[in-house]
Symmetry: C2
Subunit: 161 residues, 2 copies
DNA sequence: TTTACTGCAAAGGGTTTGCAACATG
DNA sequence: CATGTTGCAAACCCTTTGCAGTAAA
């Protein structure tokens, strides 16, 4: 199983690729959607490559057609299997949702190469932040879906170029 | 002067529109760029409307041509006068930078109408978050430009529709 | 008066969609 | 078999760019 840089498993112990696929299938079923070969390939690519652009997904699996991949991602997003990551502004990136991976995390967004690295914060910081954000939302009568904490900058490879 | 919902002035006391324009002109001058009528109009629109899309800027000032506005925003962004906000995925949004407004803040991003509301967090939360993020970046040898903390959800107007 | 900026219109490029063929339950 | 899914190619739409005319230092 893939391990994250912090030593935190991307998936909790016992979660393997099959579990992810089963969970994805179950989530699609709720929306009366089939877990087809293409959709499985897309999930497989994300499982294998982490946060990826469409181009990276297509490149990882030449069996996938571009338009179908876009359509698969729409369905997978609606079902809560994948999540669209907003980065700087070029290509869209997708990753498996926390509901699938069971792992809350944030992103280091490289403005050089666009790469995204997952990081997690100490749980006490996360908790305090959640409270402060909830309070801010309440003040503005804002209904929160999720929060987004990103660091924008340059990754190790791009910084010395 | 425009006041923020939290009762925190968007600009520190004594800052008025003229100060913003002077500061913008100074920042452009560093890059040998002129603070022209168009660029002033764009800054004026952002000053008046807050985080805005190109369409909103054009709508606010019918004297502005679309292509010129795009070009103005590129120059203003390079000079550190405006900042591109990445939201869900439709149109780009722009706001005046914190260097101009002197006010660190975060965003409530409405996935219904795309509206962006500025909020600020208690300084102790902000400080603790900064430390945790700096530590995460260090672990990954990541060079941070800035952090981004957003709440994604539905604004007051969009929630009951 | 030189250099940078503007505006129109056309091109670019990631994403979406129409439609006929296909596969899955 | 009926319905949902796929793939090709064309359409979309926000954004960028070429170029001739204009304004700013």
């Amino acid at each position: 199983m893939a391990l994250e840089g912090d030593g935190i498993p991307l998936l909790s112990a016992g979660f393997d690729d099959d579990d992810v696929h089963q969970l994805a299938a179950a989530k699609l079923q709720v929306f009366s959607q089939r877990y087809t070969r293409n959709r499985r390939l897309v999930v497989g690519a994300l499982l294998h490559c982490g946060p990826s652009t469409i181009a990276e997904i297509l490149n990882h699996d030449h069996a996938l057609a571009q338009s179908s991949t876009y359509r698969s991602l729409v369905v997978l997003e609606e079902a809560g299997v994948v999540h669209r990551i907003v980065t700087t502004d070029d290509h869209a990136r997708f990753e498996l949702t926390e509901e699938i991976t069971g792992h809350h995390h944030h992103h280091l967004v490289c403005r050089g190469c666009g790469a995204i690295t997952d990081v997690s914060l100490p749980s006490d910081v996360e908790r305090q932040l959640d409270q402060a954000l909830a309070e801010a939302a309440r003040r503005h009568r804002f209904t929160t879906d999720h929060h987004r904490v990103d660091l924008v900058g340059l990754c190790e490879n791009c910084v010395d170029r």
